[in-house]
Amino acid sequence: MSDMKHKELPDYLGSTLTVKCEKCKEELSERELAEHGFICPRCGGYNRMPARMRLAMLCDEDTFREMNECVESENLISFPDYDEKLAAAKAKSGERDGVVCGTARICGNPVCLFVMESKFMMGSMGTVVGDKIAALFEYAAKHSLPVVGYTVSGGARMQEGMLSLWQMAKVSGAVKKHSNAGNFYLVCCTDPTTGGVTASYAMLGDVIIAEPGALVGFAGKRVIEQVTGVKLPASFQSAEFQLGNGFLDDIVPREEQRGYIGHLLAIHRK
């Protein structure tokens, strides 16, 4: 276990890089984007937020303690080019795999947290992601703690074959165990939450929220367009679409999430 401060937070606030807004494609400094919580100050569009920035946004100061931070993926089925992809993902994200797990307090409430990292192979779920999240739910069940999760994922990681698909069942089982013991689980779907993550722990929360405009769905939009021959509107599989179809409890703006989650943790506190 380590304190978050042991791992250097990438210095987004001191960054001199120029980046493009994911939504309006305008150039701006990474520092400016970080200062605005990765919401574009020009267009108001939500950009993907690094996992550790989310933790900093959500957790009470200096309360996050990371778990299983040293676990790393291996090329378990000798999939071609996977070793290189892992090395590139580590360099790009500064993380060892696609999820950060640990304990913290939010508005004074103790909580177990997992936050997926989009910069690590677009949050794809392999054995490390699945196993760390399952272990977190087991830990939370053992200590009667709630779980708050942030998802961002392209789905199961195909480079680990069936071992990845298995994680959907494994994590769902761990969520069930945690739930059977009367513990609270809140999940926030961020852009994009798709495939095997949608078809498992992203849709199993007692409370399921999403960020405005986030893509939340199962099958890929382009694949559906190919299969059906229908051009789908931009709103298809948006958080607003999911809210309208009854699959989300609410859409919560980024700046309100800490207070919203803190309030619900207090209501469910044991």
Binding site: M1, D60, T63, R65, M67, N68, C70, V71, E74, I77, T103, R105, P110, T127, V128, G130, D131, A134, A135, A156, M158, E160, G161, M162, L163, S164, L165, W166, Q167, M168, A169, K170, S172, G173, A174, K176, K177, N180, G195, G196, T198, A199, S200, Y201, A202, M203, L204, G217, F218, A219, V223, I224, V227, V230, L232, F236, Q237, N245, G246, F247
Partner: protein
């Protein structure tokens, strides 16, 4: 056969589909329709029957045997209401303490606008979640195609048996090839890398048994002998699973899924810390 030859073999006409298994292995099958929420999915057949004189719930993903059946069954691509019908019947099996046999043969969950609107992801998630804790034995037979979450949604089971040429994969080899190589024609290569064949999966501990197939499914004598043998083996396994204490059955099922790809060991879990 190499991996992709097996994949192609599962798509050939004449191979036994879920309905053939239900007809040949079970007695007195009564089909139940609908999810009691939205509709009835013809891609998923469910109902009750007896197997070797004992009641069972049977669920099968049916893709149809000719073009008109393929269309009527939506090519075995299950919609949310199909998964919800399956879950409804599994909960009914739990209530009446009868085991569940799932027969899986699907190229994947239904990929469509309505399926997304009605929560394909949520429906699959709920099946995984509930099946992991279903208080009755579950045995899954993978008899042909088994692609992705759409197949997994009926494969959280105490045991998974797979036909020697069936496949079970995280992503179809064609989709994998088009993502990796931008060329779906390279599916044969992708199929090798994905380790989707029964022999690969038994080595990984994902499935429990590989079942020998008849050389020719269209030969009535061969097919009859094959089905009778399989029926006896399934009946024997269900008998053994029924003999397990419920707590043992459920903890063994949990551990079977828990241990695959285990890398965040409990020893690495931190002690609770006061904040």
């Amino acid at each position: 056969m190499n991996a992709y030859e097996k994949v192609k073999c599962t798509r050939e006409a004449g191979r036994a589909t879920a309905k053939d298994y239900i007809d040949a292995m079970f007695d007195g099958f009564v089909e139940f329709h609908g999810d009691r929420r939205f509709g009835d999915d013809p891609a998923l057949i469910g109902g009750v029957a007896t197997l070797d004189g004992k009641p069972v719930t049977v669920l099968g993903i049916e893709k149809g045997r000719d073009v008109s059946e393929h269309v009527a069954r939506n090519f075995g691509c299950v919609s949310p209401e199909g998964y919800r019908k399956a879950l409804r019947l599994m909960k009914q099996a739990e209530k009446f303490s009868r085991p569940v046999v799932c027969i899986v043969d699907t190229q994947g969950a239904n990929c469509g606008i309505g399926a997304e609107e009605r929560g394909e992801g949520a429906a699959i998630a709920e099946n995984l979640y509930e099946m992991m804790d279903l208080h009755t034995p579950v045995l899954t037979l993978m008899v042909g195609e088994g692609s992705s979450g759409g197949a997994l949604a009926l494969a959280v089971a105490d045991e998974i048996w797979m036909l020697e040429n069936a496949y079970f994969t995280v992503v179809s080899p064609e989709a994998c090839a088009s993502i990796l190589y931008k060329d779906s024609a390279r599916a044969p290569e992708a199929a090798e890398h994905l380790k989707l064949a029964a022999q690969d999966l038994i080595e990984m501990g994902i499935i429990e048994r590989v079942i020998a197939e008849p050389r020719d499914f269209t030969d009535p004598a061969q097919c009859k002998a094959y089905m009778e043998k399989l029926r006896d083996e399934v009946a024997g396994k269900l008998h053994a699973l029924r003999g397990k204490k419920m707590n043992t059955l459920l903890s063994d099922r949990y551990e079977k899924y828990r241990k695959i790809g285990r890398c965040a060991p409990e020893g690495a879990m931190p002690a609770p810390k006061k904040h």
